[in-house]
Every structure is written in structure tokens, then in C-alpha cells.
């Protein structure tokens, strides 16, 4: 973990809440932004975006930008139930280009994920730390990736490595 800063999203782009009291936090959703770290954080600050994630991790050095407080509900899953119950972590890069998934980014994101699991009592397993592509489409049974069937983090995301790092920091 190389540190982080708060770049608050526009209040148009998330739902204010008082989690975990208002809504239990039961999982973490891993995203890939299909864009740069800075552009994602900037867009979440745009009132027109209508989307957000709690955290975005930079590829080059693992630096973390926070857009939405954990107590609030970010709009990232494409499934309201999952939004309410999760924390969304975006990662700079593109699903089709594994060069963006650096060691620094895996390491920093895993540290953050482990911290969140510890903080909210989230089990460290692949049932509670999931990819965006595993979020059910609420309107189409059997389809995933939220309503728009997102595919991130994609096949190049190294889940074995990531979960090993999460376990390392969690332990």
C-alpha cells in the first residue's frame, strides 16, 4: 500500500447512507476501469457521470484514490442489492491488456481489500471478493456483470495471485 487521497465524487453519483448500520457490507467487487486512474477519478466528480466506485487503484505505483466514503453506497455494480452490500474497487487499465495489472497494483489493492475484510468482517474468499463480471444481472437470470453485462476484471486478472496477497495481508 503506497498511500491514498480522497477525491470526493459528486453527490449526484452515489447514495448517502450510514453503512454498515443502514446496510451491512458483505462483499468487495473488483473492477477494471477501461481507462486511466486520473480520468476515472475525474469522471466520478462530474455530476453527469451517474456512476462511482469507492476506491480506484493506480497501475504504476498502486496509489489509491478514494471517491466515495465506505459508509455511502457507490454506483458500480449494476445491481442495487450488490451496490448496497459491497465496496467497489476500480483498477486503472483495460481488460484486454494485462500490462496494466502491475505488481504494485495487485499488492496495493490486496492490502486495501484485506483491510476492508478485517474492518467489516468479510470472509476472505472468492464468494465474497468477486469480480464485476460475477454480479448477477437483476433482470436476466443466468446473466452476469450487472445489468449491462460487464466483463471486468476479465481473463487477464490474476485471481490466484490477488487472493494470495489478500490472505497475506489479512493474516
Amino acid at each position: 500500500m503506497t498511500g491514498g487521497l480522497f477525491y470526493p465524487a459528486s453527490s449526484n453519483n452515489y447514495t448517502a447512507a450510514n453503512r454498515p448500520n443502514s446496510d451491512p457490507i458483505g462483499g468487495i467487487i473488483i473492477h477494471v476501469a477501461q481507462g486511466s486512474w486520473a480520468s476515472a477519478l475525474n469522471w466520478f466528480q462530474n455530476p453527469a457521470a451517474q456512476a462511482s466506485a469507492h476506491y480506484t487503484v493506480r497501475s504504476s505505483d498502486g496509489f489509491v484514490g478514494q471517491s466515495v466514503l465506505e459508509k455511502d453506497i457507490a454506483w458500480h455494480a449494476g445491481n442495487w442489492s450488490y451496490n448496497r452490500a459491497s465496496i467497489g474497487i476500480e483498477h486503472e487499465g483495460f481488460v484486454a491488456n494485462p500490462a496494466w495489472f502491475t505488481e504494485a497494483m495487485y499488492d496495493s489493492s490486496a492490502w486495501l481489500c484485506a483491510y476492508l475484510c478485517y474492518k467489516y468482517g468479510i470472509p476472505v474468499d472468492r464468494y465474497h471478493i468477486i469480480g464485476h463480471n460475477q454480479v448477477p444481472d437483476p433482470y436476466a437470470p443466468g446473466q452476469y456483470g450487472g445489468v449491462s453485462n460487464h466483463t471486468d476484471p476479465g481473463s487477464y486478472w490474476d485471481w490466484d495471485k490477488y487472493m494470495a496477497y489478500v490472505w497475506y495481508y489479512y493474516g
Binding site: 477501461q34 451517474q50 456512476a51
Partner: protein, 316 residues
């Protein structure tokens, strides 16, 4: 929710130079005449006859005026409005960014001024550009292959003929600028230097558009297909968007609202600029009217956000 994930997860695992350019106001009468004859269907009847191309296989190109005068001084030049389908100009490597796009209204026409930058400073000249103004359509597209950044991604002109604009990440590199009109128009282009600016003037043309203007919503612009189009499968779908994680949904519903087909397609940008997308979309035959929706389902609650156009089945 997350308690249900074990089953859900295992079902989904596999998816895991020069400062001043010379004034080159040399547009031959013959070329101009040819352009006006074969032009866009946007010219006035007085200037270009019926508005129907007599030789649509010929792609006409004209050159812009290149001047060093101020933006205001160019208002004295009223001579070179055209409906030419293509035009190009600029200097290689002259700029790498769009710094600003301005609007001004004038008697008889309206003006968009594109100001360029080079290495974070105003550019002295205009970069390489090529304009296309497809026949009978209500927009012009200006490609800037050497431009990679923009400080403005879209905006509303709010004029009587100049409507709005989008700056889009081009699929082949660089960026393009779409300038939408409220109806049929003629245009002229003037290059200004020191600093480098491209002036694009629109004036209304007294003909009807041949095609509906592309459907636009807050974060999605759909170029293909157009409203009311008879479509065949596979259908080419193209446009640009700023939808979450560059993910766009293409969904065809029949007149009862049943989904006939849907697919997702990624655009080449979303968070920094408008991102271009295109896809081949297959669908079954249907009767009557259907509705094609292109956009995204809200990452918040799943409600559709985008454009919806009525379409008819074109056989095939």
C-alpha cells in the same frame, strides 16, 4: 446476495515551421461549381439546384481558406459557403490538443472556433484535419489525427443553426469533432494562425435533411442506425458514449417490449473523452416496429439510460 455467490460464481468462472501560413484563397471556380452541383443536398436551391447529387460517385474535395486575420476580420468574407462532402487542411504536427471551442453568432451565419494547443501552450498553427459532411445529414465531422487531448469534451452552442458538439476518441487514433446542426446547412472553414484556430461557419440551407439527425442522450450518441430505419441482420451499430467502464448495451425489443436480441460492446474511452464504439448486431426477424436501445443500464439501479430509436424490419 453475496450469500448466493457460490453457485453464481461457478457458473461464471470461465468468463473470468512557419509562424504564418500564406493566404491561399485559391478555390477554382470549376471546383466550386462541381462541389455545389454534386454536393450534400444541403445547399439552397438557388445555389445548387435540386439538392440531389448528379454524380454521387465523385468525392469532391475543396481547400479551406487559410488566413492570418483575426476571427472578427474573417466575418467580412462571405463568399465560400459550400455543401462539399469533404475538405481538409492543416499542418502536420502543428498541435496536439484542443484547448477551447467557442461560439459566436453573426448575421446570416453562426461560428464555431476551435483553438489548438501544442505542449501545453497555444499552437501557432492548425494541425492536420479532414472534414466530412455526409450528404443530407445534419452534422460535420472533423478528424484531427494528430490531436490526443482536449480540454473540452462536449458543449451546447445553442444557436439557431449550430446546435452542439462532441470531441471523440477516434478509432484509428487521434480525435474527431462532431458539430451538429439543427437542420440542413452549408459551411465554410477558415484556418487562422498565431494562435492556431479553425473557424467553422454554418448557415442554414433551405432544404430538408435526407436522414434524421443521430439520436443523442446525455451519455450516448447513436449514428447507426437512424430513427425509423429498416434494419437487416447483421446490423452495424455505431456511435460514441461516456458510459460506465466504457460498456454499452445494444438491445432490440419488439413492440410488446420483449427482448429480441442484445449484446454489449466496449467503447475506446469513457472517463476522459467520448469513446467510439461499433458492433455487428444480429437479431431474428420481427414484425411491425421494434425499438433499438443503445446506452447503458445504470450502474446504480439498472434502469436503462441511453437512446432509443424505432426501427422496422428490412428483411434479409
Amino acid at each position: 446476495m453475496f450469500a448466493n455467490l457460490p453457485t453464481l460464481y461457478y457458473q461464471k468462472q470461465e468468463t473470468k515551421g512557419e509562424d504564418v501560413r500564406p493566404f491561399v484563397a485559391v478555390i477554382s471556380i470549376a471546383l466550386l461549381t462541381a462541389v455545389l452541383v454534386s454536393g450534400c443536398g444541403q445547399g439552397s436551391g438557388e445555389e445548387r439546384g435540386t439538392g440531389t447529387s448528379e454524380n454521387s460517385s465523385i468525392v469532391e474535395e475543396t481547400q479551406p481558406q487559410q488566413e492570418t486575420t483575426s476571427e472578427d476580420e474573417t466575418t467580412q468574407q462571405e463568399s465560400s459557403f459550400t455543401a462539399a462532402p469533404e475538405m481538409n487542411g492543416g499542418s502536420d504536427g502543428a498541435a496536439d490538443s484542443i484547448r477551447e471551442i467557442r461560439f459566436s453568432g453573426h448575421e446570416g451565419y453562426e461560428r464555431a472556433v476551435i483553438a489548438f494547443g501544442s505542449e501545453d501552450a497555444p499552437a501557432s498553427r492548425v494541425p492536420i484535419w479532414s472534414l466530412s459532411s455526409p450528404t443530407g445529414e445534419g452534422y460535420a465531422r472533423i478528424a484531427f489525427p494528430g490531436v490526443d487531448n482536449t480540454s473540452t469534451s462536449d458543449g451546447v452552442f445553442g444557436g439557431s443553426i449550430l446546435d452542439n458538439f462532441y470531441v471523440v476518441r477516434a478509432p484509428s487514433g487521434g480525435m474527431f469533432l462532431d458539430i451538429f446542426a439543427t437542420g440542413a446547412f452549408q459551411y465554410r472553414v477558415i484556418e487562422l494562425s498565431d494562435p492556431g484556430r479553425l473557424v467553422v461557419d454554418y448557415r442554414p440551407a433551405s432544404v430538408d435533411l435526407s436522414f434524421p439527425i443521430p439520436a443523442r442522450s446525455e451519455r450516448t450518441v447513436l449514428f447507426e442506425p437512424r430513427e425509423g430505419e429498416a434494419i437487416t441482420s447483421p446490423l452495424r451499430v455505431s456511435g460514441y458514449s461516456r458510459n460506465f467502464e466504457a460498456s454499452n448495451i445494444v438491445r432490440l425489443r419488439d413492440s410488446s417490449g420483449n427482448v429480441l436480441s442484445q449484446r454489449s460492446v466496449l467503447s475506446n474511452d469513457w472517463a476522459e473523452n467520448w469513446g467510439y464504439f461499433e458492433a455487428s448486431f444480429e437479431f431474428p426477424a420481427f414484425e411491425g416496429r421494434a425499438t433499438l436501445g443503445v446506452g447503458t443500464d445504470s450502474p446504480r439501479d439498472g434502469l436503462f439510460e441511453g437512446v432509443e430509436v424505432p426501427v422496422a424490419y428490412g428483411g434479409g
